[in-house]
Symmetry: C2
């Protein structure tokens, strides 16, 4: 009985596990520090109060419950001993015959980790609700203040990074301030919110055709978003950002500027790239270790010797499934096959009812693109129930211009705190 250990329950790990489920002579342990698989492409909608966390996150052990040969553990992997085939986690260790590393990426501040406090990134449910709390609280504070300087600061929202996540966040703030919140306040006009998307490069959405990026730029501007390209943020603090000599005061700063692979890449002392991704061989294994595979955002797979594949859900999903297939092949004495990526294209949405899509030479924008975006995302959501509920939330939001999850949730749950006065 071969033991396959999978680290990470994202698109790669989960799909590898499913394809190994209920197969003979194989047992699988999937280990993740979260109890849930997260449908990351829709995480910005949680941050922007359109969806509830539970609508895009499902317990991993529930998804895999019907595969009796799979065990799911909630634990945090600290290190891997490649020589002795052992995974060390915080509370346990596991010996493997095959190992699949699929623990993804996190956001990067390019050496300024202290900026995180002031400019959260968007990779986890916790970060999404923190961003939601900050954005909604800024409007509440603006409503309360009588100081015009403060008012301006509370109504300024900065998004750093002009990739798809930054574009989606900025577009959603624009939509929220123009449509959702417009009628709910008395002292302020949420439509006057000042939203700035800051990009260090010469244009936003560099991975898309320039023509599509221009469409996205127009769409964003129509939602009140200002786009500052060729602008490098040099300082982030509690009160705003500095771009070279320019200073912008803002109460809310969101970070969508960079990612780096999970720390494991560096720890393993294998061949990794500047972003910490592990360079893999053609069968997605680590050089010299045919039993150790890497998939998803943690993997640097040079497609046809060129640029590495981007950190997209379809890449992770296909790599996870390919690895499962190769393990099953080896198990019956066949040779593993080199990975081949089938391009599924790229999508990004801008506010309600606008999107851009490119696939090979095909390109598409506007309402049709948004509709394709919508169908694809619902299709890939895990679980019939989530598909149904997300579809309904969207239909309701679309027709009512409302957002269903405008909750400000505090970080502290205790009432009787030793260090604070009792509040009424």
């Amino acid at each position: 009985m071969k033991h396959v250990v999978i680290v990470g329950g994202g698109f790669a790990g989960l799909n590898a596990a499913k394809d190994l489920g209920n197969r003979p002579d194989i047992r699988v342990t999937l280990i993740d520090r979260c109890n849930h698989h997260l449908f990351q492409p829709l995480l910005y909608q949680v941050a922007m109060a359109a969806l509830s966390p539970a609508e895009i996150a499902v317990p991993i052990r529930h998804i895999l419950a019907r595969y009796r040969n799979i065990t799911v553990l909630q634990d945090e992997v600290r290190d891997v001993d490649l020589a002795s085939h052992r995974v060390m986690a915080q509370n346990s260790f596991l010996d493997y015959d095959y190992l699949i590393l699929a623990c993804g990426a996190r956001h990067s501040y390019f050496g300024h980790e202290e900026w995180e406090e002031y400019a959260p990134g968007l990779k986890t449910i916790e970060q999404a609700t923190e961003i939601r709390r900050r954005v909604l609280t800024a409007f509440e504070e603006a409503e309360r203040t009588r100081d015009s300087e403060q008012l301006k600061k509370f109504l300024t929202f900065i998004v750093v990074g002009g990739g798809p996540t930054g574009v989606e966040l900025a577009g959603a703030i624009g939509e929220m301030s123009r449509f959702t919140l417009a009628r709910d306040f008395r002292n302020i006009n949420p439509k006057l919110a000042h939203i700035i998307l800051i990009e260090a490069g010469p244009r936003i959405l560099p991975s898309f055709f320039e023509e599509l990026a221009k469409v996205a730029t127009r769409n964003l501007e129509n939602l009140g978003v200002q786009i500052w390209t060729s602008s490098k943020v040099t300082q982030v603090d509690n009160n705003g950002v500095t771009i070279g000599r320019e200073r912008v005061e803002a109460a809310t700063i969101l970070w969508a500027a960079g990612v780096q692979a999970s720390e494991l890449g560096r720890k393993l002392a294998v061949n990794s790239d500047l972003q910490g991704r592990i360079r893999v061989e053609s069968c997605l294994n680590i050089k010299g270790h045919p039993e150790v595979f890497v998939a998803g955002d943690l993997a640097h797979f040079a497609h046809g010797g060129g640029d590495p594949l981007p950190g997209l859900a379809p890449v992770a999903l296909q790599q996870g499934r390919w690895i499962a297939r190769n393990i099953l092949r080896e198990n019956v004495g066949k040779k593993p096959l080199p990975f081949h990526y089938m391009d599924k294209g790229q999508l990004a949405t801008i506010g309600r009812s606008k999107a851009i899509i490119q696939l090979g030479r095909f390109r598409c924008s506007g309402f049709l693109a948004w509709f394709i975006w919508l169908i694809t995302h619902i299709y890939y959501l895990i679980g019939f129930k989530n598909r149904l509920f997300v579809t309904m939330q969207w239909a309701w939001s679309f027709f009512s211009f409302n957002r269903g999850a405008r909750l400000i949730v505090n970080k502290e749950w205790r009432f009787y705190r030793p260090d604070t006065s009792v509040d009424i």
Copy 2:
């Protein structure tokens, strides 16, 4: 133009505001430290992963947006100066002509506030997700451990307090362990979870007929809940509870044993009872202050000179509306009317498809009672969308035995914490 200040956006405050909405010569400011109105009767379902927070919590300013004479402020009231008619909040102050105090109650540890850390109560969204985190994490830890003492501790769940909240929490843990989680684990059998409901008095549900309490006891026992009556908890710590000489080790302890009114009751130096509720006159005003009203859990209204009205949603709702009516009467020169409560009865659910109801001499239990409970709760939920979504969640849970929000969400959102090592 008369200014009505309402402190608290619960059932009492919100309904008072609605009835004062868009009335001539009146402007209203509703102040609450949360941005949302919470449908508290279903909060235990958030704690037990059946509903998402946003399904039972709606932004107060959104509910009241169509009343142009109402301003909503998110702020925390610190004190009231009854003599000068001024409300002091953390970030602002407000002068009033009429004041409605409806800031509710919180749980009480009878002088042992340090127990809160180990045994959270259930009054806020934050506490509900904290309880959810603890209950789900206990099962995860049980799955991981290889120590039989630890295993027993992780699978023991203690609920302190045998009122409706305690009964609903214990029943829901029983149902979750028997049905929802049963298939998802490999090393443990969640059905063996040990659930203990501890009540200091001689029986559970003292506000219900003894006959109905007996039915509830049987229903709970069928879900695997042990009921310990006449048992007073004398110590609560990180590892369990002590009841006189007996010690029970448990990883999860929930507190549903006592409430006390918001601190404001004591601060005002008016006539308040032992639980801190303000004793009100027949028109729900404070003695000597016909312009200051108290409603809901903060009010001690001796119904016909007897026991004070219980802290139930219908009481708060009716009192809020009655106060609005009296303010409107005074505004046109009429005398205020003494409050009269129309009894809406009491309900409690036990797991799926069982409940008890009493209304005057009418009593009902089993599936019919549960169905009435269901209809009533959906009817009183605010917003068509929430009614639709909660109905669907319940329908889905009922037929699939599943729970839609089994998320373990951490308290910390930052990745780059100054005081911890970087995790992979």
